[in-house]
Each structure stands twice: as C-alpha cells, then as structure tokens.
C-alpha cells in the first residue's frame, strides 16, 4: 500500500517538474540574454556619458583658472603696476579685488619677495610681509617666467583657497593673451628680467561647488586629485580630511600613468564603480568622475522585475496546468490502484468505474474482467480445496488406522510420510523419521542378503519372506512396493509393510501345540496298543470268537489313531521345514513285497485281491529313507483298499527303467472325480475330505507322500481318469554309486522294526 502511494506522489511531482521546466526554462534563457545585452549597452552608454561629463568638468575648471591667470597676466603688463607707480598701482589693484568676488587678497612683491602693495576685500593693508621664502614667490621667480598655481589649502571657514603667482617681466612687450604662459613667448631670460610678482589668493568655493555638485546617475560624483594623486577636492568633506593620498585607486593610477580610459573598478570608498579620470591642463590635476555600477544598471532593474513577474506567473500557470493534468490522468490511475488493492485484499466484486473513453478505460475494463476471472478461479479452487481436504482427512484416517505399515518415499528415497505401524517396526516415533533415507532405517534382509527395493521403474513389486532384525530376533515381513511415475507428484513410491511375525509365531505355536498334543495322545495310545497286544497274545485262549473280533476292531482303531497322530506330526514337521529323510540303499522289490504282505490280511478281510508285479527280478536298489517310502506305500495301498469295494482288485506294478523306478498302485474302484484331482495332493484338500469322508480318511496322507517323494527327487501323481478305477504312481531314481554314495546317511536304519529307531554307529 505504501508503495502505491509513493508511486502516485512521484508521478504528480514528475508532471509538475516537467511543466515547470518546459515553461520556465525558455523564459530564463531569454531574460538572461536580454539582461546581458542590455547591461553591455548600458555600460557603454554610461562610459560615454561619463567621458562627456569628465570633459565638461575639466573644461570648466580649466576655464576658471585660465580666466584668473589671464586677468593677472593682463594686470602684470599694466604700466603703473609694472613699475609700482602710486597711486595708480594701488588703484588698479583695488579695482581688481573689488571686481573679482573670488579674489581674497592680492599683493605686489618686489623681486626680492617683499610685499610692496597689499589689498584684501576690506581695502589696502598696511602690514607688509617678506614672502621671499614662500613657494609662490620662489615658483614665480624660478619657473622661467611661468605663472604658478598653488595646490589647494583651506582657511578657517573651510573654504578652498589657491594662490596664483604671475611674474612681471622687465621688457614689457605687448601681451598676447592667447598664450598665457609668458615663458612660451621666449622673452624670459632669467630672474633679472623679473621686476616683480603679482600674488593673488582666490577663494574657489564656487568652482568647487560646481565641480563637486556634479551628479552622475544614482550616487555618482566627481572629485579632483593633483598630479601626485593627492586628493584636492571631494564632495565628502570628512573623506577629504581623512584621505589625502589616493595613488592606489585604479582610476587615479590611470591618470598618473597618463591615460584617461573609463574603467570598471573599485572606487576610493570601496564601491563597484565605473570611473573616468580627466587631466586638467593648467594645474596638472585631474577630475575623476565615477558612477556606481548599481546606478549604471539601475535601468535594467525594472526589466528584471517584469521578467520576475512573468516567470512567477508562468510557474503558477504551470502548477495549475499540472494539477489539471494530474486530475485528468491520476484520478483514473488512483481508481485503478484502489481497484487493484481491493482485488489484492480479495474483493473480486469491486468494479473500477472510468468514464473517459481512452486507454485507461480499456485498462479498467481489462481489470474488471480479470477480477471476474480470478473470482471464478478462486471459487473453483476453494471448492476443490475443500474437496481435497476431505479426501486428505479420509486418506489420513485410513492410513493411520490400518495395521499395516505404510511409507511414502520421494525420488531420493527419503521418507515423506509414515504411519505409526511402520514407525513402530523400527521403534521410533513417526515425526523423527520424516526426511530420513528409508534404507538407512530399515536394514531389510532377504534370504540372508541385504535387501533394497527397486524404486526406479514404475510398477507394483511384491517381496515376501523379508526379515528385519530387531534385537536378537527378527521380524518377518511381507512388503509391497508401488513405484509411481513421480513426474507430477512428490511421492515416488509407496511401501506397504505387512508384519507376518505374529502370524508366524502363531504358526509355530500351533505346530508346537500339535507336537505336544501328539505326545500327550501317544502315551495313552501306547498303553492301549500295548495291553491290547498283550491280550491278543497272552489271553487269546480264554476269549470267545466274538471277543476276538471285538479285540481286532479295538486294535485296528488304535492303529488308525496312531497313524493319524503320526500324520499330524509329519504335517507339523513339513510345515516347519523339519521333515528329514535318512537316505540308504534300499531294495525296492523287497520293500514292495513286504508292504504288500503286511496289507494281505486287511485285503483278505474285504475279500479284495492284492498283488504286486515287477518287470525286473532280483534286487532293485534305490537311495531312499525306508520308513518314509514305507509310509508312502502304506498310504497309497491303504487308500486303494479303503476306496475299492469289497471284491475289488489292487495291483502294485514296479516298472524299472535304466535310471528310474516307477511304482503304480492300481485299483478298480469308483475312481477320483476330475474336479478333485487338482487339489488331491494339497494340504487344503485334507480339511474338506476329512470332514466329508469322516473316519474313512484324513487326506493328509497324499500331502505327506508328495512331500516325501519330492524330498527323494521323485514324482508322485494320479493318471488321468478313464471311467473306472484310479492309478496312483510315484517314481524314484535308481541307485547309482557315483551319484548317491555320498547321500547315504551314516545313521543306520534297523530294518524290519516298525517305528522310528536309530542306532548309533560305532566308530
């Protein structure tokens, strides 16, 4: 907000600045040029005027002095005066002093400098003075006949006084009044030619008055200096009294150096002036005329004043115009700014109303449309966001409530998200695991090797039988890795961990339970079987036929129970991977005959015929565990007898080839329905069958048989159903010393004894 305000101020001040520059700069330039040219003209005019005034002033002073001198010279040539003839001389002098108001005193001196006749304003003066030592006398006597003009002195009243001395020559030749200086006439020979001197003291107040009253411009005046630069007259009496030597003032220097140029300089009182010196011919003095520069340029001031008024008016107009312009331009901009602010604060309904039909209106319209679009987008986004939040909550609930561990990874294998069960597997809280590399935390093993799931190629990967060390123990896991194409998502893979440890432990407990239960069942069974057999041998003579039949049934039941328990134990061993066979070299022909013999009684009781046939006489050796293979044969033959009706046939065929023995158990019973064949050898088959078939069979036998035969590297199966009877078969490899000698167990089996008997070998 602050920023917008700053820009606005900047624009308005820029506009103002531009307007001022445009209007005032030409005015300034023109005014300056005009003033400068006017100044030079004024200066020129002032100089000219000053020279005229200087001339005029000098002329008036010269005229005054030459008048006085002429008159004295004229008197000096008067016959009576020249000869000091009385009373004519006195009379002439008296007339002279009365006619000339300026003349204060006039004296006639003899050549020795002694006053002879003296007159002042009041008449003849009788006191006569010896003036032989005075400047005037000496000057007049020794200036080769030239008249002498003294410097100015002042009397008690402050009036300026000068003394003029004119020598009186012996040869009184006619005077040419055009040439004042007698010396110039060439009549002067030496002091002996001088008969006397006329000495006149003049009061020159009037002359000074006229000179010093000269006014030039504003504050300009004239003053007079003598040939050495000493001040002779000045309008300011005080200045006159205090400053005598002015040879340092530029204008005076100019005069002393014999020039009379007009100078712009500093005056004797320190003012900027233009100044002109002018030499006075009769006295060797100079009139200095000066005028202050301010006075010279005074005429221009009104022009400058006018210019100032024009400039101020122009500035005022500029400011006014800029304000108008600003309103025209800035008000809409301000509206736009306000609109933008509103938009920024989320008020998308604000309309910017600009009526001017120009680019600004276009901008405002664009802005308004943008507001509408943004509003739509925002509404859309908000809707989606709400939806997304709900989905997120749902997903989070699902993920945290499932018992399986779930880990989401990014492309680097770092944990983005992990649910409590997954974290519990490694015993750390989920929040400590975020951002960690998963493979550092989960040292998974698969078949005793370190395991790291593939995270590169998208797809779903399933890994079972994984272990994860925990303390001295292991967790058994099953994991599913969904590798996601993560171009558009942070999540690169999702790992679902199913903990099988508990299930496995349960399985083991179940199997242990089976083993223990079997043991507990076996003990009473041993007692039952044992005493039944004792009864069967010892007490049989005291029993009736009926008793014996019942005894046989009891023995048969006990045998069935024993077989069932043994099968359960076998299953338990298979499930735990503990099924073990002790390979020995066994004569298969003999084993088959023995087993068939054992079933003869049972077959006879059902009036069934049981027979065996081998395609090879004599010993047929196979590497096998005799009790296990006996169990397989018992199982297949037992089943055949069980499922074949009374009077049926059961045949056992041995087919011996070079390296393989094949044993077939063929019956002519009802056969096995096609739909059951697929599951006949599976563990699952047993449950169904045992429930349906009840005491007739457990179905466990085929599963155990399959496991046993496969441990012997043989095959077991059932031939395809042909409509009548069934044919089960299994194969075993023929004993080959090269291949099988090493397999022979060092734990010898005691042949012929039913049960599990292992005999220690003597070393």
């Amino acid at each position: 907000m602050h920023h917008i305000k700053m820009v606005r101020l900047k624009i308005s001040s820029k506009v103002l600045l531009y307007f001022l520059v445009i209007s005032l700069l030409p005015l300034f330039v023109v005014t300056t040029l005009l003033v400068n040219s006017a100044k030079s003209q004024l200066l020129q005019a002032a100089k000219t005027k000053q020279q005229i005034i200087a001339n005029k002033t000098a002329e008036s002073v010269d005229n005054f002095l030459s008048d006085k001198i002429n008159l004295l010279v004229f008197q000096s040539r008067d016959y009576s005066i020249g000869r000091f003839i009385e009373p004519d001389s006195s009379h002439n002098l008296g007339v002279l002093i009365n006619q000339d108001a300026d003349l204060e005193k006039v004296s006639l001196l003899d050549p020795k400098g002694m006053e002879k006749i003296v007159f002042n304003k009041h008449g003849r003066v009788n006191t006569l003075t010896d003036l032989s030592e005075s400047d005037a006398y000496n000057a007049a006597m020794f200036l080769k006949g030239r008249e002498y003009v003294s410097s100015v002195s002042y009397n008690e009243a402050g009036d300026p006084l000068i003394t003029i001395a004119v020598p009186m020559l012996a040869n009184n030749l006619g005077q040419n009044l055009d040439n004042l200086s007698l010396a110039n006439l060439g009549q002067y020979k030496g002091p002996e030619d001088i008969k006397g001197i006329i000495l006149a003291n003049y009061n020159i107040s009037d002359l000074w008055q006229s000179v010093l009253s000269t006014k030039i411009g504003e504050g300009g005046y004239a003053y007079v200096v003598d040939g050495l630069g000493n001040l002779v007259a000045h309008p300011n009496k005080k200045f006159l009294n205090s400053h005598q030597k002015l040879s340092n003032v530029e204008a005076v220097k100019e005069f002393i150096n014999g020039r009379e140029e007009t100078l712009q300089t500093v005056s004797e009182v320190g003012l900027d002036v233009i100044s002109t010196p002018h030499k006075l011919d009769h006295s060797g003095w100079a009139v200095i005329v000066e005028e202050p520069v301010t006075s010279v340029y005074a005429g221009i001031n009104s022009f400058i004043k006018l210019s100032g008024i024009i400039i101020i008016s122009a500035a005022f107009l500029s400011i006014l115009t800029s304000l108008l312009f600003r309103n025209q331009l800035l008000v809409p901009i301000r509206k736009l700014t306000f609109g933008a602010k509103k938009l920024g604060s989320g008020d998308f309904d604000h309309k910017i109303n600009i009526t001017s039909n120009d680019e600004l209106k276009e901008l405002a319209d664009t802005f308004n449309n943008m507001g509408l679009n943004i509003k739509q987008l925002v509404t859309n986004l908000e809707y989606k966001n709400v939806h997304l939040n709900i989905e997120q909550i749902k997903l989070n609930n699902i993920i945290s409530s499932v018992s399986d561990g779930i880990i989401a990874l990014d492309a680097r294998g770092e944990i983005i998200s992990i649910n409590p069960p997954a974290a519990k597997l490694i015993g750390k809280p989920p929040n400590e695991l975020h951002g960690k590399i998963m493979s550092d935390l989960y040292p998974w093993e698969h078949e005793n090797k370190h395991f790291a799931p593939e995270l590169k190629i998208p797809g779903i990967y399933h890994y079972s039988d994984l272990t994860l060390p925990r303390g001295n123990d292991y967790l058994y896991l099953d994991i599913m890795v969904s590798v996601i194409d993560h171009t558009h998502s942070e999540v690169a893979a999702i790992i679902t961990i199913h903990d099988l440890t508990q299930a496995r432990e349960l399985d083991f407990m179940k199997l242990d339970f089976v083993a223990i239960a079997a043991h507990e069942l076996r003990t009473p069974l041993t007692v039952i079987q044992g005493y039944l057999s004792l009864l069967n041998t010892d007490g049989i003579k005291q029993l009736t036929i009926y008793n014996i039949e019942n005894l046989q049934k009891a023995i048969s039941g006990a045998t069935q129970l024993r077989n069932l328990i043994n099968k359960l134990l076998s299953i338990a061993r298979i499930e735990r991977g503990e099924m073990e066979i002790n390979i020995n070299k066994i004569d298969l022909n003999k084993l088959v005959k023995d087993i068939v013999g054992q079933h003869a009684t049972a077959a006879a009781q059902k009036e069934q015929r049981i027979m065996s046939h081998s395609n090879r006489e004599g010993h047929v050796y196979v590497p096998a565990d005799i009790s296990s293979i006996s169990e397989v044969l018992n199982n297949l033959i037992g089943n055949a007898l069980k499922f074949t009706d009374a009077g049926g046939d059961v045949k056992i065929n041995l087919t011996i080839s070079n390296d393989m023995a094949r044993v077939e158990v063929v019956d002519n019973g009802p056969g096995v329905p096609t739909e059951l064949r697929g599951r006949l050898f599976t563990k699952f088959y047993r449950a169904e069958r045992s429930l349906i078939a009840g005491s007739r069979g457990t179905g466990l036998g085929l599963y155990i048989s399959k496991t046993i035969i496969e441990l012997h590297n043989g095959k077991i199966g059932i031939e395809p159903f042909t409509g009548k009877g069934s044919t089960f078969y299994f194969t075993l490899p023929i004993y080959n010393p090269d291949k099988h000698a090493k397999l022979i167990s060092n734990k010898k089996e005691t042949g012929g004894i039913r049960g599990w008997f292992k005999k220690r070998t003597t070393s």
Partner: protein
Amino acid sequence: MAGLKNVLLVEDDPMILEMYRVILVDRQYKVETATRSDEVFAKLETFHPDCILLDVMLPGMSGLEILKELRANPKHGCQKTKIVILSNLAQQSVTDSAIENGADGYVIKSDILPKDLPTIIDSLVE
C-alpha cells in the same frame, strides 16, 4: 557277550512300565525298574545292566539328562552300556540330542508293541 539279559527299565508311567516289564520277564530277561533319576543312580550301585531302556519325560532330571550323566560319569559304570531312548516325543531336536549324547537307539513308544522290545534289544548286539 551272549545276548543282553540284564535290562534296566526307566519309566514313570506305571501302566507302561508294567506292560514292558511283563513282556521282558516273560522273555527271560532279568529286569530292574526305576521311575526317576535318583532311583536309577541308586539301582546302578548294585545292578549292572547290559541295556537301559530310558524314558525322556521323567519327573526331575529328564531322560536326556540322565543319559548325559551316565555317559559322562564313570562311577555309574554305564559308559559302554547300551542305552535306548523310549519316548513318545518325536521332534527332530529331541532325537538328534539323544543320539549326540550317546544313545544307541531311539524308539517311539506308540510305534511299537511290547512284543517288539526283545527284537530291539537283540538288534543292539553287534
């Protein structure tokens, strides 16, 4: 040695003990019985059997522990005596342990009938 005629039968279940004793006596064996480890060791002080039939699940010391003691300790005089384990435990771990500790045979009781005992004893003779 012409046959193993002196038999020590160790069994805690009286019915099974009686059953086996009867058949062995019937077949001319000289039979002594014990139901627990201390009885076994006491009997061995006076009786020197050719063969010991030893149950596993006994009160106190188990049959396997007795077997170990008999094989390890010469004072019982049974280090060379034939010893067959008679048990209804069929776990591989138990049978392997019995063989390792010097049993000459291991018989699952429910898999045999009393009349099979003499055959088993006779088979022990090399």
